[in-house]
């Protein structure tokens, strides 16, 4: 695992200026384009929270998804289809699950740093929206969200062989989670039949569980543990798929 973390640090260091720029620009742009307009349409949540307060966990989760996507894409799609660094990794005497976890966790570290910067930027834009005692929960659930979403992107990367197919699938996934996982719009805004499906999507469960502890003060065991269980299942599936894709 330490090898993957060192590698991630080298990758950041080798593109330091763009990494720093990205760490500030992405949270800033996502904060203003998603919240400023929407908060004039949805002024407050159904429970009476101001929209900019209610949306914060969803925004951070979406940010984690946006940030982890290129890191996963590069390692599991780009390098794989171009027969680059992934091949020697799979030849090393380590399990495929170690490769999946190593790349995922090292990417997650980069994402966590940017999420923290993002929370800082958001607290400057909307000072009343970020309560310091809630930051830990927001980061924790953003990590769970990124782990689950990262595994979905790994699955997508390993399944597809063409960039056009991958990009279409990726955009569809991103737009779907943006609207259907309760990140920016509450489930009751959808027709009943749809919302009852959406709220049981594993990614939706993360945002539900996070808001439950932030705004109701109750730890939602089912909606916290189910996404973690799905993540573990996906890691097993991805490890198997990586083995098959590498013909090993």
């Amino acid at each position: 695992m330490s090898a993957f973390i060192i590698r991630r640090w080298w990758l950041i260091r080798n593109r330091l200026m763009s990494s720093i720029a990205l760490a500030f620009i992405v949270p800033f742009i996502l904060s203003i384009v998603t919240v400023f307009g929407t908060k004039n349409i949805i002024i407050q949540s159904i429970n009476g929270q101001p929209y900019e307060v209610w949306v914060l966990p969803g925004l951070m989760m979406f940010m984690s998804a946006v940030l982890i996507t290129p890191l996963i894409y590069r390692d599991f799609f780009d390098l794989r289809i171009h027969n680059k660094a992934l091949i020697p990794m799979t030849l090393a005497p380590i399990r495929k699950s170690t490769i999946i976890l190593g790349i995922l966790f090292s990417a997650l570290l980069e994402v966590i740093v940017i999420i923290i910067i993002g929370l800082g930027i958001y607290s400057i834009i909307f000072p009343q929206a970020v309560a310091i005692e809630q930051v830990g929960f927001i980061i924790m659930y953003s990590i769970i969200f990124a782990l689950l979403y990262g595994n979905i992107i790994i699955l997508l990367s390993l399944f597809t062989e063409r960039i056009s197919v991958f990009m279409s699938a990726l955009l569809t996934t991103l737009i779907s989670i943006m609207f259907a996982c309760g990140l920016f719009i509450e489930f009751p805004f959808f027709p009943n039949s749809m919302s009852s499906v959406f709220q049981y999507l594993p990614l939706s469960m993360v945002s539900v569980a996070c808001r439950s502890i932030l705004f109701i003060g109750s730890f939602d065991t089912f909606n916290t543990l189910t996404p973690l269980a799905v993540t573990i299942i996906l890691i097993v599936i991805n490890s198997f798929l990586l083995k098959r894709k590498m013909k090993q």
Partner: protein, 309 residues
């Protein structure tokens, strides 16, 4: 001698096509073995199987007596693999690429550094070690890939065209390093660069359509051809009638016509005089006589049928 690599009835299929057909052979510890053959003969597939990058459809590969399928993690520790194509991470430096790979094998930082220094000096890439992989010439990247394969100190080194993309000096340095390993590490490599193969090997395996066609030392392989010579006679005009007449000489082997030049093989120089007699006074412009080389042996007609075939 102890076998380092053993293949037992190893076969590889891609769809309906047989890439490797029931190969059974052993490779002695510390030997240097060259795989040669046409494109698509199955050399790269065989190397990938030996490296553990692919699994055979049937049969077993053993490294130091361990089944690569059942003892995967242990056997991988013993192998260093250099693929034909450049596979370094272009966003990492050469040193970082090598370092990361060695870390995956659980090698300590100090050992990694000392090996990188030692081998980069031997292969003269010290000036490029801290350059991004994607920005250095491919020949340098290939040398870094060799160092990467050596960084975890493998006992078996599998290399697919190890000197591809390299200039003459780099090829010389690479083979100097490989010769230092002779006796300690088992080296199996493929190459299309036959002078390189003739210069450095213990054993040559000629692969053709997934099977081992010829197997032995260079001297042994050329043994059957030692008394043969390759002749080329350039005429003022080589007509079809003249070609037929010369080809009809019973001691002429594998005659071919290229422009006005008549190529053939003969068991002794005496054949040349028999051809001269058959020329009927046709005007000759040039003449060459050469001993046979590995290239001639690999000529598909020879390799498949033999000179006497």
């Amino acid at each position: 001698m102890e076998a380092s690599i053993t293949l037992k009835k190893v076969g590889k299929l891609v769809g309906d096509k047989t890439i490797l057909a029931g190969l059974t052979f052993g490779i002695e510890k510390g030997s240097i073995v060259a795989l040669v053959g046409d494109n698509d003969a199955g050399k790269s597939t065989m190397l990938r199987l030996l490296a553990g990058l692919e699994n055979p459809n049937y049969g077993s590969v053993f490294l130091h007596g361990l089944d690569t399928d059942k003892r995967r993690l242990e056997t991988r520790q013993t192998v260093g693999y250099v693929p034909h194509d450049i596979d370094l991470d272009p966003w990492l430096t050469l040193e970082q690429n090598i370092h990361f790979d060695a870390l995956l094998y659980g090698i300590h930082m100090e050992k990694i550094q000392s090996r990188i220094q030692e081998y980069s000096q031997a292969l003269a890439i010290g000036d490029f070690l801290y350059s991004m992989a994607g920005r250095v010439p491919q020949g340098i990247q290939k040398k870094a890939m060799i160092i990467r394969a050596l960084a975890h100190d493998p006992t078996i080194l599998i290399m697919d065209e190890p000197t591809a993309f390299m200039d003459a000096e780099s090829r010389r340095l690479t083979w100097n390093l490989m010769r230092e390993f002779h006796g300690d590490r088992t080296i199996v490599y493929s190459s299309q660069f036959l002078p390189e193969v003739e210069a450095a090997n213990d054993r040559i395996m000629v692969i053709h359509e997934g099977s081992v066609l010829l197997d032995g030392s260079l001297d042994k392989l050329l043994e059957s051809t030692l008394e043969y010579h390759q002749f080329a006679i350039e005429f003022e005009e080589l007509t079809d009638e003249l070609f037929d007449s010369l080809s009809g000489v019973t001691t002429v082997v594998n005659p071919t016509k290229m422009g006005n030049t008549f190529h053939f093989y003969g068991r002794s120089r005496k054949v040349f005089f028999e051809v001269l007699n058959a020329c009927s006074g046709a005007l000759m412009k040039d003449l060459s006589i050469e001993k046979l080389s590995l290239q001639d042996l690999l000529d598909s007609a020879f390799a498949q049928k033999g000179l006497d075939g």
